[in-house]
Symmetry: C2
């Protein structure tokens, strides 16, 4: 019986599982993120009993990640605010322990892969999964393949219009200040309004501003990458009523250009929530393992 | 002897040629753009004598274009300010006349194809050709294929920061006002400064502002599409000294994030001029024909 391994590597916790698909995901283990050695050793110990049946392991990890196979630091997290994790190689420990194909990508690319195989992007060849949470990140599948050019996508760091009179908030991005993430991530909302976004009532002006910034981001993603659909996930996107507002603002900003038929209506099927919920990352890692094995 | 046909369809002129590559491009004919019937008839008449040897014809055209093979208006220019051309189907006349594969894409996608096969993007799998002229448009090759998702790229219509105090100019885009094209195309510069860009001296403040807008655009293209290289072409980009300023502003805006090694230096090989000059569109169309035939 072939089994595949999946790891969702997060800044606060790792999720590990083995299985063959959404309906056959067994033994999900949650491991708190401590030091690289300790955490990775526990993940390896989790997979040990399944070693004989494991065909491949897929890892969806927080980034940034060096995913260039020709790079001397291929497979590492080059820099991260997460203490102790800069320079960690996520591939070697698993390659040494199991000698099977190990796939690595960002958490959002993995989530996109999972949504394409089992979720809200089935049947599509070019789409984006954008997460709006502690950070803003985008995963992209283009003509069926995870996008990777000079680096993996970093859609949270795009620059969008910022009306300083309407919003004097300088932005929280340590590199750019008021890039998209700097203006519209969960922490950015909390810093601007003095309370976490989930505490802001639906009629609070925060949500109109958030919809504006996210709509500007989606317009840029559309005009540059031309996804057939954009999935808007992450904690902030859970806020009831945010998605319809984003669609509305996006329609107004496009003002009927691009003239693509799929963009004419109310964008109900263009901007959509993910279908796999919190399991998107784990199932995406599983999908990556299955791709590596085939 | 196999021959391939190439058509560069522009708003003011069509260029037609037959050949097998940059060194074998024969009988280049320039046809002024008048009515669709008249113009396309003259292009077909140009290819008639070569019909026996023609394997395929590639067309790089001004847009927007419906390039979705499943669309009832596949192959047409849906809307254009160019009088009489809205709704014109660019594929049928050639399919009926010659019964050989006919490839169609935008002029900038064609230029990208040509630069990848014979120009400044040889050996790369993921890159962008951005033209800054009468309009701003981007062509993208991703993992070796022309990018086409819900539509073809429309990179000129991305939204970027606009400091109204520094630049009270509202922008010339008929749909969006101050999108990238609305702020930084040739006509935008002419409208803002009261003279065509080629008449503005090198030390004119116009060029610092132009470099800022283009750099913001390139940062967004980088973060979303992750090209290995961006080729900056078109009339405005011919201005001596503009490219180095764009690189400089882009470096400052990135502020060392993304941490990709290829982006560490002075971006000399990241943002580059095209190598094929004015022939990029025609050679791109030829490359498209050769792809269609294989
Ligand atoms: N229901 C909610 N509504 C609005 N914001 C939320 C909600 N749930 C979580 N958040 C915000 O989302 C962020 C956490 O994002 P999440 O996607 O859950 O985790 P992470 O991005 O760390 O993987 C926090 O800033 C939190 O305040
Ligand atoms: N050398 C130059 N320096 C600056 N701007 C130029 C130069 N040559 C042409 N332009 C501007 O570029 C635009 C024409 O762009 P071009 O790429 O030549 O044609 P098109 O975009 O119509 O194919 C015009 O707005 C023109 O003013
Ligand atoms: Zn940033
Ligand atoms: Zn526009």
């Amino acid at each position: 019986m072939s089994l595949y391994g999946a790891v969702e590597a997060g800044g606060t916790k790792f999720l590990c599982a083995v299985g063959t698909g959404p309906d056959h995901l067994e033994a999900i283990l949650r491991i708190p993120t401590t030091t690289p050695d300790e955490t990775l050793a526990r993940v390896i110990a989790f997979f040990r009993p399944f070693a004989g049946a494991l065909k491949a392991i897929g890892i969806g990890s927080f980034g940034p990640l060096d995913l260039d196979p020709t790079s001397p630091t291929f497979g590492t997290i080059p820099t991260t605010p997460k203490p102790g994790w800069s320079g960690t190689n996520l591939l070697w420990p698993f390659q040494e322990a199991f000698g099977i194909p190990i796939g690595l990508t960002t958490d959002v690319q993995a989530a996109a892969l999972g949504e394409g195989r089992w979720g809200a992007a089935q049947g599509l060849h070019t789409f984006v999964y954008l997460t709006v949470g502690t950070g803003i990140g985008g995963g992209a599948i283009v003509h069926g393949r995870m996008l990777h050019g000079v680096w993996h996508p970093e859609m949270g760091h795009i620059r969008i219009p910022h009306d300083w009179e309407r919003d004097p908030f300088p932005g929280v991005c340590p590199f750019h200040g008021d890039c998209l993430e700097g203006l519209a991530s969960g922490p950015a909302m909390a810093a601007r309004w003095g309370q976490p976004p989930e505490a802001l009532p639906p009629d609070h002006p925060a949500w109109e501003l958030e919809a504006e910034y996210l709509a500007l981001g989606l317009v840029n993603i559309l005009c540059i990458l031309t996804p057939q659909r954009i999935l808007l996930g992450g904690g902030v996107a859970q806020h009831p009523g945010l998605l319809p507002r984003v669609r509305e603002r996006m329609r107004a900003l496009l003002n009927r250009y691009l003239p693509a038929p799929a963009l004419e209506g109310d964008l109900e099927t263009y901007v959509m929530p993910p279908a796999l919920g919190e399991r998107a990352g784990l199932l995406g890692a599983l999908a990556l393992a299955m791709e590596m094995a085939s």
